[in-house]
Amino acid sequence: MKDPYEVLGVPKTATQDEIKTAYRKLAKQYHPDRYVGNPLADLAAEKFKEINEAYDALSGGAGSAGNAGYSGATGASGASGASGATGAGTFAQVRNLINFNQLAEAEQILDNSSDRGAEWFYLKGMIFIRRGWHEQGLNFIRQAVNMEPSNSEYRHTLSMLDRQTQQYRTTGAGMAGNTDTMCNCCSNLICLDCCCECMGGDLISCC
């Protein structure tokens, strides 16, 4: 096993709080939800596991398992994003092939299938997304959601994919030192208070 401090990127002298912060950041980064539809999901899952193990080792076993929301997702929601086997035999086989990145075979089976229901569109969309054909992929998954709005799997996948886009934007905005922060909020309030005082009123009574 790798050095847990190294995995979490913290010095050996780090406090429990620092370890926790580092763990949360990394767990968010490599969370399986961020790799839905990505053919490298297996590598992300490995990394995610490594982070959880490192955190377990450093936090004295209290463990990431108790850390709601982070570690639990490895299984069900799936590193693959196409693992919830609900369909009949053919579709289950297609899901399996997608999980092993055998996209050409999966597509062939789908194209030969006569059942063109919502699941067909969903699986076809997942194949396109994995291949990097995002335009068609997203369209097919939206189509599946429209055909069967009550299906939580399709809706969940679509919202995961949307969230990936949002997260990417947020990271960029964070790096650019976006000024829309708490500090800004406080300084705005103080300014407002000054203005009020000029006009004879008061917004923040203590200053």
Binding site: Q29, Y30, R34, Y35, G37, N38, P39, L40, L43, A44, K47, F128, G132, W133, H134, E135, Q136, L138, L161, Q164, T165, Q167, Y168, R169, T171, G172, M175, A176, G177
Partner: protein
């Protein structure tokens, strides 16, 4: 490649900018020593990114020296040297430049392209000796791209696929041997190629319409709006970022972070809204100094 993968200068620290410049100048010098004077004409930011990325993955030692050059004869500038990744990226840049020239000669019978081809004759010989196999692999993908163009393919996914295959191939050099980084680089390369192709097609659509050239966006049922285009490409960029986070980077991380999270979205915004991507004096498919 086309110079779409750029740093977002305003957010770089001076030391990061200097390191980036050292790679830029280093690539230019490598082109000159390995492929001769005229090879420098093809220098672009995409190849600099490739050199930076690959040397971060290998973690190889990079020597930086202060040197003069023709563009800046007075002051000395930092130049990265003796780097495997720089040498490989120079080769990749030459392969793509040669393929582009070949394409121009075949399609437009461009005199300018023919002349450049003649000027680069010796460079081509050297290139084929070192990277003949890689060149042929890329050439095969470009051939299938021109096949799709002739068939007036209306799917942006399908049209970009052929070009994405080229970048997928060149992003995985032999000197990176481990399985995991090879897979990551291949996928990143594919998606970056896709993005470059989409940028290029979206940026040129008015021009192509006038000239009657092939452009997948003109053949689609509806031309996407700036907002649709931005939304759809941002998803691809987010996948690139997810791939990128899986790599173990041994150096230059701040510069690469800047390119992935700030430079690429900035270029996307510009392309979507019709704001020029390149600086004044920097021609398309060429570079500035």
């Amino acid at each position: 490649m086309f110079g779409y993968i750029r740093v977002f200068k305003d957010e770089l620290k001076i030391k990061e900018y200097n390191a980036f410049r050292a790679y830029y100048c280093g690539l230019c010098k490598t082109l000159k020593t390995e492929y001769g004077f005229f090879a420098r004409m093809g220098l672009n930011y995409d190849s600099v990114f490739l050199a930076l990325l690959l040397s971060s993955v290998t973690g190889e030692e990079t020597k930086v020296c202060a040197e003069r050059c023709m563009a800046n004869p007075v002051s000395k500038r930092p130049v990265a040297q003796n780097n495997q990744s720089l040498s490989y990226s120079a080769g990749v840049m030459m392969i793509l430049a040669m393929l582009k020239l070949k394409d121009n000669i075949r399609d437009d019978k461009s005199i300018k392209a023919m002349l450049t081809y003649v000027l680069l004759w010796r460079a081509r010989k050297r290139l084929m000796k070192r990277y003949g196999e890689l060149y042929r692999a890329c050439d095969a993908h470009i051939q299938s791209l021109s096949g799709l163009e002739k068939a007036k393919c209306a799917s942006v996914d399908e049209a970009s696929h052929a070009f994405a295959k080229v970048t997928e191939t060149v992003f995985v050099p032999d000197f990176i041997e481990e399985e995991a980084p090879r897979r990551i680089l291949a996928h990143m390369g594919y998606l970056l190629g896709r993005v470059i192709y989409l940028f290029d097609a979206f940026e040129d659509k008015e021009q192509d319409e006038k000239k009657g050239c092939y452009n997948p966006y003109l053949l689609a049922d509806t031309v996407p709006t700036a907002k649709d285009f931005e939304q759809s490409v941002t998803f691809t960029l987010s996948s690139i970022a997810s791939d990128y986070e899986l790599l173990t980077l041994k150096r230059n991380k701040p510069i690469l972070d800047n390119i992935i999270y700030l430079g690429l979205p900035d270029t996307l915004k510009r392309v979507a809204n019709g704001i020029p991507v390149r600086e004044k004096g920097e021609k398309k498919h060429e570079r500035s100094l």
